[in-house]
C-alpha cells in the first residue's frame, strides 16, 4: 500500500468532491437497500392486514427510496468523476514538478522514445485510483456497516452473518485476488512486450526476412508469441471472472444463511415472521453493490505498478554537486582524456577525447554516423557525466557547474527540436519572452522563413512543418536568444545547400565574436572554421584548420573525396 501513498495524498486533497461523492454513493447504496427492505416488510405486513394506509405508505416508500437512489447515483457519478479528473490534473502537475529537474539527462539515459508515452500512460492510469481502488471499498464499507447496524436491531446473529459476508466480499476475496494478480500481471506485461518486439522485427525486417526466406519461420514465431500473449490475457480474464463469481457466490451464500437463520428463529419464535422477508431482501440488496470490487484487484495492481515505475524514474539522485555558477570571463571549454559509455553498451561512445574550444572561435565536428559527435555535444551541455577525464568551462570543472547557469549562456539547436502545439509566435517566445514583434519577424527572415505569419498554427511536435522548416525555425529561436555560445547539431541537414549557406552567413554575422560548435556531416563551407575536428568510433582522428587537414590528405581528405563523388 505504501507505494500508493503519494496518490492517496493527492486524492485526499480533493476533499470536497471526494466527500460529496462518498456521501451520495452511500445514499444511493443505502436507499437501494431501504427500497428492498421496505418492500419486503410491507408485503409481509400487507399479507396480514387489510389497511389502506399500508398501501399508501408502501407506495410512498417505494417512490421515495427509488427516486433518492437514482438521483444519488447520478450525483455520485458526477462528483466522483469530477474529483477523478481534478486528481489527474494534480497528478500531472505534481509528477511534472518532480520529473522536471531530471530532464534532459533522463531522456539521454533511456534513449528510448516510448519512455514518455509510458510515463503519460502510467500517470493516466493512476486516475483510476479514486474511482476503482480507493472509493468502492470506502462507500461499500459505510453502506454495509449501516445495514448491519440496522439489521442488528432485529437479529444480532443475522447482523453478524452479514458482517462476515462483508469481510469476505470487500476485504478477503479482493485481497487474495490482488495478491494473485501480481504474478499474472508481470507475466502478461512480459508476453506483450515480447509480442510487440517480435511484431516490430517482423515488419521492419520484412524485406530481409523475405530475401533470406525466413518469413515463414518468423510468421510462425510471431504466431507463437501471439498465442502466448492471448493465453496470458485469457488468464487475466479468467481471473477477473473467477473473482467476480466467487464474490457473487459469497453474496448469495450470505443470503442463504440469513434466510436459514431467520427461518430457524421464526420457527423457534425468536424472531417475528413479519421481518423475515425484509431481512432476506436486505441481504440480497446490500450485496448488489459489490460488483465493483471484482475489478478492484486488477486496478489495484495496475496502479501499484504504475506508481512504482513512476517513482523509479524520479527517485534517482541526480545533479549532485552541480551548484557552481559560471564565471564571468570568456568561456573556454577544455576536454582532457574524456571517455564516456552509454549504460548497457559495451563500447564507449567517446574514447580519450582531448580538445579545446576557445571562446570566440568556430569549431566544426565531422565524422560518420555513430562516431560520437552528438555524444560530445551532450558532454558540453553538461548532460552526460563523463566516465573518466576532465571537462572544464571557464576554468571550472563542468561537473560542478549548475546546468541552468550553463544553458543560460547558450543557444542550442539539437537534431530533434521540439515544437509545441500553438503558433509560430508562441514557439519563438519560448526562446525569449521579451522578443518584440519586429525581432521575431527579423529572425524568421534571417532563416528565410519570412513567408511564415507569426500567427500561423503549429501542430503538436510541429507535425505540419517540413524537416527543413523545423530546422530553420529552431535556428530562428536560437537567433532570438543570442547568447555567446552556440551549440548546433546538424542544424541544416534537411535544408538545401544554398539556403544553408545563407543561414550560416547570417549566424556568423550575428554571432560575431561568439563561440560556435557545429556538428555537421556536410563537409562544405568549412573553410571559414577556426578548427575542424574529425571523429570516428568515439575517437578524434584529426584536428586543424581546413587548410591544414586538407594538406595532410588524411581522413578528412578521404571523406571529402567521397563527398565529391556522391552522385545524386
Amino acid at each position: 500500500m505504501k507505494e500508493l501513498k503519494q496518490v492517496m495524498l493527492l486524492t485526499v486533497r480533493e476533499k470536497r468532491d471526494v466527500s460529496i461523492a462518498i456521501f451520495f454513493g452511500f445514499l444511493a447504496g443505502i436507499a437501494g437497500v431501504a427500497l428492498m427492505a421496505s418492500s419486503g416488510y410491507l408485503i409481509s405486513k400487507a399479507a396480514l392486514t387489510s389497511q389502506m394506509t399500508i398501501l399508501i405508505v408502501m407506495g410512498a416508500c417505494l417512490k421515495l427510496f427509488g427516486l433518492v437512489s437514482a438521483l444519488s447515483r447520478y450525483a455520485e457519478r458526477l462528483f466522483s468523476h469530477r474529483a477523478t479528473f481534478t486528481m489527474l490534473s494534480n497528478l500531472r502537475v505534481s509528477f511534472f514538478e518532480r520529473l522536471e529537474p531530471h530532464a534532459p539527462q533522463l531522456f539521454q539515459k533511456y534513449r528510448s522514445g516510448d519512455l514518455l508515452a509510458r510515463i503519460v500512460g502510467d500517470v493516466e492510469s493512476l486516475q483510476n485510483f479514486l474511482l476503482r481502488v480507493f472509493y468502492p471499498p470506502v462507500v461499500l464499507g459505510i453502506v454495509f456497516l449501516s445495514t448491519i447496524f440496522f439489521a442488528s436491531f432485529f437479529s444480532f446473529t443475522i447482523a453478524l452473518v452479514i458482517a462476515a459476508g462483508m469481510m469476505l466480499t470487500i476485504v478477503a476475496v479482493p485481497a487474495v485476488f490482488a495478491w494473485r494478480q501480481r504474478k499474472i500481471d508481470s507475466a502478461t506485461r512480459a508476453s506483450r512486450a515480447a509480442l510487440s518486439s517480435e511484431a516490430a522485427e517482423f515488419l521492419f525486417g520484412f524485406r530481409d526476412l523475405k530475401i533470406y526466406q525466413q518469413l515463414d519461420t518468423k510468421e510462425q514465431q510471431l504466431a507463437a508469441f501471439s498465442k502466448d500473449y492471448a493465453e496470458q490475457q485469457r488468464k487475466v480474464g479468467l481471473e477477473e471472472n473467477l473473482s467476480q463469481s466467487v464474490n457473487g457466490f459469497a453474496a448469495l451464500l450470505v443470503s442463504f444463511f440469513v434466510l436459514g437463520l431467520g427461518t430457524y428463529f421464526v420457527a423457534t419464535d425468536q424472531l417475528d415472521g413479519l421481518y423475515l422477508a425484509m431481512l432476506v431482501m436486505i441481504s440480497l440488496a446490500v450485496f448488489e453493490n459489490v460488483p465493483p470490487m471484482a475489478v478492484f484487484p486488477a486496478y489495484f495492481e495496475d496502479n501499484r505498478k504504475a506508481a512504482v515505475r513512476l517513482e523509479e524514474i524520479v527517485a534517482e539522485e541526480r545533479n549532485k554537486g552541480k551548484s557552481l555558477e559560471l564565471s564571468n570571463g570568456p568561456l573556454d571549454f577544455k576536454l582532457e582524456g574524456v571517455s564516456f559509455a552509454y549504460p548497457d553498451e559495451e563500447r564507449p561512445a567517446l574514447q580519450d577525447v582531448s580538445l579545446t574550444f576557445k571562446a570566440g572561435t568556430k569549431t566544426a565536428i565531422v565524422g560518420p554516423s555513430g562516431s560520437g559527435k552528438s555524444t560530445l555535444l551532450q558532454v558540453l551541455l553538461n548532460i552526460a557525466d563523463v566516465d573518466s577525464g576532465d571537462v572544464a568551462v571557464g576554468g571550472i570543472p563542468l561537473q560542478k557547474v549548475r546546468q541552468e547557469s550553463l544553458w543560460a549562456a547558450m543557444n542550442v539547436v539539437l537534431q530533434e527540436n521540439h515544437f509545441f502545439y500553438g503558433t509560430i509566435r508562441s514557439n519563438l517566445m519560448i526562446a525569449n519572452e521579451e522578443a518584440t514583434e519586429e525581432a521575431m519577424r527579423n529572425a524568421l527572415n534571417n532563416v528565410q522563413l519570412g513567408h511564415f505569419a507569426l500567427d500561423m498554427k503549429v501542430s503538436e511536435k510541429g507535425a505540419n512543418l517540413s524537416g527543413g522548416e523545423k530546422q530553420r525555425l529552431a535556428i530562428a529561436r536560437a537567433l532570438l536568444r543570442s547568447k555567446p555560445i552556440w551549440l548546433l547539431d546538424e542544424p541544416v541537414s534537411s535544408v538545401d545547400s544554398s539556403t544553408a549557406h545563407a543561414i550560416y552567413q547570417e549566424l556568423f554575422a550575428q554571432g560575431k565574436g561568439d563561440t560556435f560548435v557545429i556538428i555537421s556531416h556536410d563537409l562544405s563551407g568549412l573553410e571559414q572554421m577556426d578548427q575542424i575536428v574529425v571523429m570516428e568510433q568515439g575517437r578524434i582522428i584529426e584536428t586543424g584548420t581546413y587548410k591544414e587537414i586538407m594538406k595532410r590528405q588524411g581522413y578528412f581528405y578521404g571523406l571529402k573525396q567521397i563527398e565529391k563523388s556522391i552522385f545524386a
Binding site: A70, F96, R234, A408, R481, S497, I566
Partner: protein, 574 residues
C-alpha cells in the same frame, strides 16, 4: 466492415455453451426466488417448523450453486471466445502483412501496424468477453422471467411489457445526444489530453531555454479544461443511466402498487405470489441495465474493428513464382516493358533494360524517381502489373521461390539486424551448413572480423533492436558478410547515400568487386566511380527510363547526364 458478430457466431460450440449456461442461470434465478418465497411463506404464514422447510433449503442451495456456476461458465466462455477471436484476428493480420508485398516499400508505417496488431485487437476484447455473453443472457433470461411472471400474475407481466420498451427508446435518444456532444468536444478533448505529452516531449527544449517552470500552469490549465470538457460529455451519459434507473423504478412502483392493491384491498393475491413477483421484477430490470452498459462497451470496439477491417480488406497482390530451379552462375537479366503502379499514384515504367551475365547495371536518378521500386520489382518483392523479367531466358514467375532467393543477395542502405548474436545474423545469409572457418572467412572479407574479435563475446555478442550499438558502417559490413557466405548469382545493391566511414567505403568497393566476379550486379548508384564502372547505366526520371547506355554513350548522347557530371566535378560547394 469487419463483422465481429459473425466472428463470434462462427464459434458455434461457444455460442451453444452461452445459450445453455444462460438458460441454466435463468432457471436457477427463478428457482432461487421460488425457494426463498416458499420458505418465507411456510414459516411466516403457514407456521411450519424448521424441520419441515429443511428440504427447501437443499433446493435453495442447489439453485444458488447452479446460478453461481452458470454465471462463472458464461464469464469463462466469454473470455475464451475473446481469446480465440483475438488469436484469429492476429493470425489474419499477420498473414495480411506477410502476403502483401507492398509491405516492403512502406516501412514507414510499421509502427502503426504494430499498434494495429496489439492495441486494436485488444480493443475488440470487450466485444467478445462482455458484450456477446451479456447479449445472449439478455435475450434469454428476461424472457424466462417474463414467462414465469405472466404465469403467476399476468397483470405484472403486462405492466412490464408496456414500460420496458421505454428503456431502449430513451437510451437511444440520450445516446444520440451524448454522441453529438462528444463529437463537438472531440477536438478540444484530444488537444487538452495531448498537452501533457507535448510538454514532456519538449522538456529538453524547455529546460535548455530555461522555461520549464512556467509549464506547470500550462499543464494545470489544460488538465482542468480537459476535465470540464469531459464532464460535459459524461453528464449526458450519466443522464442516460439516470433515465434507465428512473424508468425501471417507475415500472416497479406501478407493479408494487398493483400488487399492493390486490393484497390489501381485494385480498385476491397470495403473499407467495406477491413476494415471488417482487423478487423477480428487480432481477428483470437489472438484466436490462447490464445490457445497457454492455452495449456501450460493445460499441467502444467499433472504432478498432473499423481499423482492423481496413487492413484486412486490403487487396493482396502476391508475387508469382513457379517451379524452375536456377543454376549457380551469374544470371542474365532482361526487363521487358515492366511497369508497376502504387495505390497513391506513383507509377513506374514501362522499363526496358538488360544485363548480361556477370555485368554491372547501375540505376541513377533523383530521389523519388523510382530507383528502389525498380530494384524491389527485380528482386521479386513487388508484383509486376505489366511486362516481365526474364532470367536466363525464363520468366521470373516460373522460377521456384526458394531457388530464386537462394541465388540472390540484396544489400540495402540500412540492413536489418535481427535480435540474436552476430553469428546468427551472418548465418541467416545461407541455408547450408557453415563451418567455423567459412564464417570467419566471410567476416574477414567483409571487414568486420577485427571488430568482432574486439568484443568480449566475439561472434556470440548479442545485437538486437535493429542492431543497437552498431554503427551504420558496421551494419553494412555484416550484410556483406551474409553475401560472402551466400555466394549469390545476382546482387541487388542499394548504395548508401552518405554517412559511412572511410573504412566501410573501402570494404564495400572491394567486396562488390570480389562478389561481382561470380554474379550479375544491379546497383542503385550514388557514387560516381560505381556509375563509371558499370556496363549499362539506366537513368530514371519520374518513374520512366530517361536514358540508358554506357558512361561514354550517355556522355555523348544525353546532356542531363553531362550536367550531372559537371556539377560533381565542379563541386556543388562553390
Amino acid at each position: 466492415m469487419l463483422d465481429l458478430k459473425q466472428l463470434a457466431y462462427e464459434r458455434k460450440n461457444r455460442m451453444a455453451w452461452l445459450i445453455v449456461a444462460s438458460l441454466l442461470k435463468g432457471v436457477a434465478m427463478i428457482g432461487q426466488a421460488l425457494f426463498f418465497v416458499w420458505i418465507a411463506d411456510a414459516v411466516f404464514l403457514k407456521d411450519a417448523s424448521f424441520r419441515e422447510v429443511l428440504p427447501y433449503f437443499g433446493g435453495l442451495l442447489a439453485a444458488i450453486l447452479i446460478r453461481a456456476a452458470s454465471g462463472y461458465a458464461i464469464g469463462r466462455t466469454g473470455v475464451n471466445l475473446a481469446s480465440e477471436a483475438k488469436s484469429t484476428l492476429r493470425t489474419k493480420l499477420t498473414a495480411s502483412f506477410a502476403g502483401n508485398p507492398l509491405q516492403a516499400s512502406v516501412q514507414g508505417q510499421s509502427g502503426e501496424k504494430v499498434s494495429l496488431l496489439l492495441d486494436a485487437v485488444d480493443e475488440v476484447d470487450a466485444y467478445f468477453s462482455k458484450y456477446i455473453p451479456q447479449m445472449v443472457q439478455s435475450a434469454i433470461i428476461p424472457v424466462l422471467l417474463l414467462i414465469v411472471i405472466f404465469s403467476q400474475h399476468w397483470v405484472t407481466g403486462l405492466i412490464i411489457l408496456i414500460t420496458a420498451p421505454f428503456i431502449p427508446v430513451f437510451m437511444a435518444l440520450v445516446g444520440i445526444k451524448t454522441k453529438e456532444k462528444a463529437d463537438a468536444q472531440m477536438e478540444k478533448l484530444g488537444r487538452f489530453s495531448g498537452t501533457f505529452l507535448d510538454v514532456l516531449q519538449g522538456l529538453t527544449t524547455l529546460k535548455l531555454f530555461g522555461r520549464a517552470e512556467q509549464q506547470k500552469q500550462v499543464i494545470k490549465k489544460s488538465s482542468l479544461d480537459f476535465r470540464d470538457a469531459t464532464m460535459e460529455v459524461l453528464k449526458s451519459a450519466f443522464l442516460s443511466s439516470l433515465m434507465l434507473e428512473y424508468i425501471s423504478m417507475l415500472s416497479m412502483g406501478i407493479i408494487a402498487l398493483e400488487i399492493g392493491l390486490r393484497l390489501v384491498v381485494y385480498d385476491n393475491l397470495t403473499f407467495f405470489t406477491a413476494f415471488f413477483v417482487m423478487i423477480l421484477v428487480p432481477d428483470f430490470f437489472n438484466l436490462l441495465k447490464d445490457f445497457g452498459s454492455a452495449f456501450h462497451t460493445g460499441r467502444g470496439s467499433a472504432a478498432a474493428a473499423k481499423r482492423l477491417a481496413a487492413e484486412l480488406e486490403k487487396e493482396r497482390q502476391p508475387v508469382a513464382f513457379g517451379q524452375a530451379e536456377m543454376p549457380e552462375q551469374p544470371f542474365a537479366i532482361n526487363v521487358n516493358a515492366l511497369s508497376f503502379q502504387y495505390e497513391d499514384g506513383f507509377g513506374l515504367g514501362p522499363i526496358e533494360i538488360a544485363a548480361s551475365p556477370g555485368s554491372r547495371l547501375a540505376i541513377i536518378g533523383k530521389s523519388g524517381s523510382g530507383k528502389t521500386t525498380l530494384l524491389h520489382a527485380i528482386a521479386g518483392l513487388l508484383p509486376l502489373q505489366d511486362g516481365q523479367i526474364l532470367v536466363n531466358g525464363i520468366p521470373r514467375s516460373e522460377i521456384a521461390e526458394t531457388s530464386w532467393f537462394d541465388h540472390l543477395s540484396y544489400i540495402s542502405q540500412n540492413p536489418y539486424l535481427f535480435a540474436g548474436t552476430i553469428k546468427e545474423n551472418i548465418l541467416i545469409g545461407t541455408s547450408q551448413q557453415t563451418s567455423e572457418e567459412e564464417l570467419t572467412e566471410a567476416a574477414r572479407k567483409a571487414g568486420i572480423l577485427e571488430m568482432v574479435y574486439s568484443l568480449k563475446q566475439g561472434f556470440e555478442t548479442p545485437v538486437g533492436e535493429a542492431g543497437r550499438g552498431l554503427s551504420g558502417g558496421e551494419k553494412q559490413r555484416i550484410a556483406l558478410a551474409r553475401a560472402f557466405l551466400k555466394k549469390p548469382s545476382l546482387i541487388l545493391f542499394d548504395e548508401p547515400t552518405s554517412g559511412l566511414d572511410l573504412y566501410t567505403e573501402k570494404v564495400l568497393q572491394e567486396a562488390i568487386e570480389e562478389l561481382g566476379r561470380d554474379a550479375t550486379i544491379v546497383t542503385v548508384a550514388h557514387r560516381l566511380h560505381t556509375v563509371r564502372n558499370s556496363d549499362v547505366i539506366l537513368v530514371l526520371a519520374d518513374g520512366k527510363a530517361a536514358a540508358k547506355g554506357s558512361h561514354e554513350e550517355l556522355l555523348e548522347t544525353y546532356s542531363p547526364y553531362r550536367e550531372m557530371l559537371a556539377i560533381q566535378q565542379g563541386g556543388v560547394l562553390q
